[in-house]
């Protein structure tokens, strides 16, 4: 009999439901203050397009996408029926609750339908079914498919015969582009100046804990970070690996407009960082590995005043719960915003934005 909890929860629930009451809660208003109108023309570049990599997005695209998400989060546009003739299939060949639910929730909130293959790994493929046959199958069952797979190359194979858009929900050690969109949506709400695309007086020092070469969330986050050369003065990658970038990412970073350095102890630089991107799991192609103790944050960490912490979650012990109730916690806001940025993306990929945006918001 857990009546005490009942009472407590009731109290919490009775309180007004903001999208986030814990940690730092920047509101979306800032994103539509400077330029309230949406540039449809720009967003149309994504119509019926597959979202496979973060490098599909430039500054303007990310900005317009974030503004749509802001309107959705602020409920200034009503879009609860706009996709009611569409079906999204979520095909997760690697277990994941958070990403799958975020996409399914986003689709349902837009009136769409969902087909879930949460047990994908247990079925077709296990029976020896070819990925290209699975891709062909989705043509007639769904209008869009969100895929997660342990192998980077899986998406190429799946798209061999596919004629509907795919959204990459994480493919092995390659990318997780929509997570990166959620990450930057949170940062844009935190510093709306980043929306201006001009040099801001305050230059940010970005810290990324992890190995961009083998961790998809980190890699996708880094790709978008390079769009903000006017606002980011330094990117420090903190990793225990000798070569955290790897050949592919290294060549990508060689042309980086932002200086990138590498450290192997978070404590050493934590006091200088304005943004710390944490991550719990290093995907190694066939499993997960927890990062060492030199890469943990808790209330004792000497965080810079005003610094914020991001974490795609789920976290293990690298990010201590003692930080949850501090203003360093931007990760809950980041999690809460993920569903809105995905709603925005779905509206745009299906080319339905015009149906929900009032004229005065269209540029």
């Amino acid at each position: 009999m857990v009546i005490k909890t009942a009472a407590k929860v009731e109290h919490i629930v009775q309180s007004e439901l903001k999208t986030n009451l814990i940690g730092l809660c920047p509101e979306p208003e800032g994103l539509i203050k400077f330029q309230p109108r949406i540039c449809l023309q720009k967003l149309k570049e994504l119509t019926y397009r597959s979202i496979l990599s973060a490098d599909l997005f430039d500054t303007e695209m990310l900005r317009e996408l974030a503004k749509v998400a802001a309107y959705l989060q602020l409920k200034k546009i009503s879009a609860d029926k706009v996709l009611n003739d569409k079906i999204m299939a979520t095909a997760f060949f690697e277990a994941s609750t958070r990403t799958r639910l975020s996409f399914e929730s986003a689709m349902l909130r837009l009136g769409g339908k969902t087909l879930s293959v949460a047990e994908a790994a247990l079925t077709g493929e296990a029976k020896g079914e070819k990925l290209l046959d699975i891709g062909q199958m989705f043509n007639s069952y769904a209008d869009i498919v969100v895929i997660r797979h342990t192998q980077q190359k899986a998406i190429q194979e799946l798209s061999e015969y596919l004629r509907i858009p795919i959204i990459n929900g994480g493919n092995g050690s390659d990318e997780h582009p929509t997570q990166a969109l959620a990450d930057w949506y949170a940062l844009l709400k935190w510093k709306p100046d980043l929306m201006l695309g001009a040099a801001s007086e305050e230059q940010l020092h970005l810290g990324i804990v992890g190995t961009p070469g083998s961790m998809r969330t980190v890699k996708s986050f880094l790709i978008l970070a390079l769009l903000f050369r006017h606002n980011i003065s330094q990117i420090t990658i903190v990793s225990e690996m000798a070569d955290p970038l790897g050949v592919e990412v290294q060549s990508f970073c060689d042309s980086s407009p932002i200086p990138i350095d590498i450290k192997n102890d978070l404590q050493e630089v934590v006091g200088e960082l304005d943004v710390i991107y944490m991550n719990s799991i290093a995907f190694l192609g066939d499993g997960y590995r927890t990062l060492g103790s030199r890469f943990k944050l808790d209330k004792e960490s000497r965080l810079k005043k005003g610094a914020v912490v991001l974490h795609p979650l789920a976290r293990k012990d690298e990010l201590d719960v003692s930080l949850d109730h501090t203003r360093h916690n931007l990760y809950f806001n980041q999690a809460d915003g993920a569903v809105f940025i995905r709603q925005a993306l779905l509206l745009i990929v299906f080319g339905r934005l015009e149906q929900v945006l009032p004229d005065h918001l269209i540029e």
Copy 2:
């Protein structure tokens, strides 16, 4: 080629579809005969409230809830679109088909959407995700969450950061409140006099087979049973355990207005019982155990004339199928009613009852 079955099934299906054709089939009309009008004021106590324990319900609350379920079962109120802006997440960290489907079906019948995490145990938590992070996640993905977990304390952890209502779908050996509501909905249909809240001429002798201390369905059922002191003269707990109550339930029963005794052989008392609450599985924190042979019922059991048997199902062999076609079988009616009591609960928790109740039914 199973054409014979085809013919048979067709025949059955062509027959009029009552909610239950097998066993005893008390109709819901009796529940709204005396007081057809619903006391909204009382039910509003549950608006946005989490349903964690059966002790949230008093006699009046249970009565009004049962009346709403009766109207829904009788289709006297149309509520097929009322929750179309709501999403229910079902997070089952312990496998269960029956409870999950019952909630999802209830939600769908009200026009709501569902997000299913049937494989919860396989994913986030397995990766070491903290329950409080999972709870935080649901804030942005759903409007209500139904949770089943093997651990009693799981719900406290999950609600740490949760700001939407939780419904306890069974937490370890603690409680399963909505099952108890379904149990009593069946009993109220069977004996509408129980609705009067006054002493009935016929006093019931209740038999509970199981250990309230370690079986959640039994515990929740017992909590509600104690509300009917005017109608229940005796509660006999039949268990093979030396101390079937345990400290927590014992202290709860010490203040019981109804005499409670304990027996360790069902056959010994079966002839005296008006209601026999059966249960197949004793949840022991980390697994299930089948009850011994002294606790089984079949057609040979010397059941009292007019006695009814309840069983939350799924049954194993403690309840023989030979009883299915007798008038002792109230368990199928109990199962069929579960979806309506859950529909009623959802309407009330979301505060949407007024939108579907015609004025003449509101008190």
Copy 3:
């Protein structure tokens, strides 16, 4: 960073979305050319009927069903809301993505709701729940249930207490009737003359690779094949088994109006066959077995000009991808059509066809 794929996929997606662009793509128009009007009276025989075996269908029924599917595929009837008060439960006690998604997609496209028990094998039954109790459960949770099970007899047990229609989604080595409907829908689109029910000048030689006695898809396909005695001159079963038919199917074939012979090497007859029905997996009650190398097809196989290949998929290596881009490939069209034939079946079983067919299409 998989931008190359992104570009490629975008290009494909931007192209007009036909139901099938790969292989042979017969359009559905042919099916409604001769007799555009639907014979409702005939189809009403299936109202509220369970679909357990392919022998429920005669030539006329199959023809009318195919015409409804054709109208749905051509979007000449709008049926996107007609089942919005219905719930379909898919109970798969044997893992399957393809069949389950096909049914769920069909239901969602008609505005219906779905309840998925994809993990059925993991839950109730695993806990020792009786199939008849599971069947009883569905009465109150759903309006129709699609079942797949490893055991032939499972459906009889499940229907013991069931009062809603069941659709057999594959029961052990017995049948898979809706797969056979999808197979023949593709063949009817390929040769609309088959719709006439009269002797066609061109007589077809049908080759079936597999063992009808132990492979459900093959058995159901064969049952429907025997309806086309005016158009099929010969059926050759190609199997490595000494007795591929088994007692039950043998007795069924004894009364076959079409000569049936058996060969044990596909290469031996491949040049004579107009239709080759391939199959990758032999269900042996408790597992799967891949067919030997003498039963494979690839671009080197000396296929007859104009011959078509069918495969229920998922394929393994018996059907080489080198055939995918040839005009022998009817299997992708077969896969794409499956969702429409199932939509047609659902409309008919629920007796809702009249609500979507315009008067001028009703006979």
